[in-house]
């Protein structure tokens, strides 16, 4: 029974990692940009939620009404004002987003100090469903997983059923020719970044309810996102969900074996997938 409990926990946690990964793979897919500052932007979203909750006196979920559009606008401006100029080669985007990561961490440190913070969701944090006397599942992790599946399903619809999604895919295939379709790359890239950050803002709020965060929490989240993307296979949204779930599972099982082991177990699972199936579980693009 204990094992089933651990597995459920791991799967539910995996939904969060899938959201980190979906944001990461979305911008890599559309503009071949590896965003080293991804984790730090998740932390920015968490701080935005923290102060929105304080200012408006709302809960973390309500704060998303402000945080999601807020960070999307920020992402659009960031792309148009900075990152678009770094595109075109492999190295510049890495360097620029690495620098951005350092800047974000230090600005957060200056503004908000090194204090750890957390988002309080109220009684729902403790609520759980009891299936048998031994087996209960927390309400919050279930909501978190359901939201992750819904967001990834929504992205899937957006990519394959809308004009905007078609423009994203066309730009990903051939940005030069996409311009001949009247598509402004600069605008499409900025929309992709806005969408990516909107998605991770949701994940950022959930993770900040789960654990405490501080200005230097970003890189760890970035690693989780990367591992889930690679395990799932680049370019497939449902694969990303599978990758996230696998990472969550590995961490939960590792944590069960030894309290200090969850992250190591996640990395080991990642390495195993790389060795056995370097293209990921559900690859779609060959890079």
């Amino acid at each position: 029974m204990e094992l089933i409990h651990v597995i459920i926990q791991g799967v539910l946690l995996g939904g969060l990692y899938a959201l980190f990964a979906a944001g990461l793979s979305l911008i890599f897919g559309v503009m071949r940009l590896v965003n080293i500052a991804h984790g730090d932007l998740i932390v920015v979203a968490a701080y935005m939620a923290y102060f929105t909750m304080q200012a408006l006196g709302v809960g973390p979920f309500m704060s998303l009404i402000v945080v999601v559009p807020g960070i999307a606008v920020f992402g659009y401006a960031l792309q148009r004002g900075l990152l678009n100029f770094a595109l075109g080669d492999e190295l510049p985007p890495l360097l620029v987003t690495f620098g951005l990561s350092v800047i974000i961490q230090n600005v957060l440190l200056i503004l908000f100090t090194h204090d750890s913070r957390r988002l309080y969701a109220g009684p729902i944090e403790m609520a759980s469903w009891k299936f048998t006397p031994d087996l209960s599942v927390g309400v919050l992790p279930v909501i978190q997983f359901a939201v992750a599946v819904a967001v990834i399903g929504g992205l899937q619809l957006l990519f394959y059923r809308t004009t905007l999604g078609r423009s994203f895919r066309a730009t990903s295939d051939d940005p030069e020719i996409a311009q001949l379709m009247g598509i402004e790359n600069r605008h499409i890239f900025a929309l992709a970044m806005a969408l990516s950050l909107a998605v991770v803002a949701v994940a950022g709020v959930f993770i900040a309810i789960r654990t405490t965060f501080n200005p230097f929490y970003g890189p760890q989240l970035l690693i989780f996102g990367f591992e889930a993307v690679i395990m799932g296979g680049l370019g497939s949204l449902w694969g990303t969900l599978a990758g996230g779930v696998l990472l969550g599972l590995a961490q939960a099982i590792g944590g069960q074996i030894n309290v200090g082991l969850p992250f190591t177990a996640g990395h080991v699972a990642f390495l195993l997938v790389l060795i056995v199936r370097p293209q990921g579980l559900f690859p779609k693009v060959s890079v």
Partner: protein, 232 residues
Amino acid sequence: MALLEVNSLTAFYGDFQALYGVSLSVDEGQAVAVIGANGAGKSTLLKSIVGMIRAAPGMIRFAGEAIGGVRSPKIVARGVTMVPEGRRLFSSLTVEENLRIGGQLGRPGPWTLQRVLDLFPMLAERRGQASTSLSGGQQQMVAIGRALMSNPRLLLCDEISLGLAPIVVREIFQRLPKIVAEGTAVVVVEQDVVQALAASNYLYCLQEGRVLLEGASRSLSREAIKAAYFGV
């Protein structure tokens, strides 16, 4: 007034100069051919017209307005588009999506998805397939259809015969008069001189970035074309 006027166009790739003052004009509803050997500057010319390579404003005028240096999406919105060399379909889009995305700007005109499928009936039954699953000739039809979907006043075709079997090339070139008949001016860039002559009213021959010969396609002698093409 000509629909397209190219005036002393120069173009560079870094230090390398690809075009040395090329001038050319295309009238409404006209079919113009540009021939020349590899590296003569034909593709560079088309890419400059459509905004993929920067040019000074006055070097390219479309419908009386200077469009040199304008970004490609804006130029396409004004009614110039190109069928790129090597087709370059969007590989993750289906045949139908490739066509529809061409019409995304919503320029009004004669070409609709249905009319494009009427022009290339063999695409109709394959509209749901991945564009990569088609033969080279069918892919070329999609590329032309995709360009037509933007209802251009001027259609530039870059080496649409490249890598295709002669019978397929003939099939594709047969469609050009129908396109011109809808009021679209067409510029075909070709290495295949016979096809180019047959498909055009007026012909330019480029060599090493310069126009060496031009004239009504019927009036030019084979010898003159040969001399300008090979530079002998």
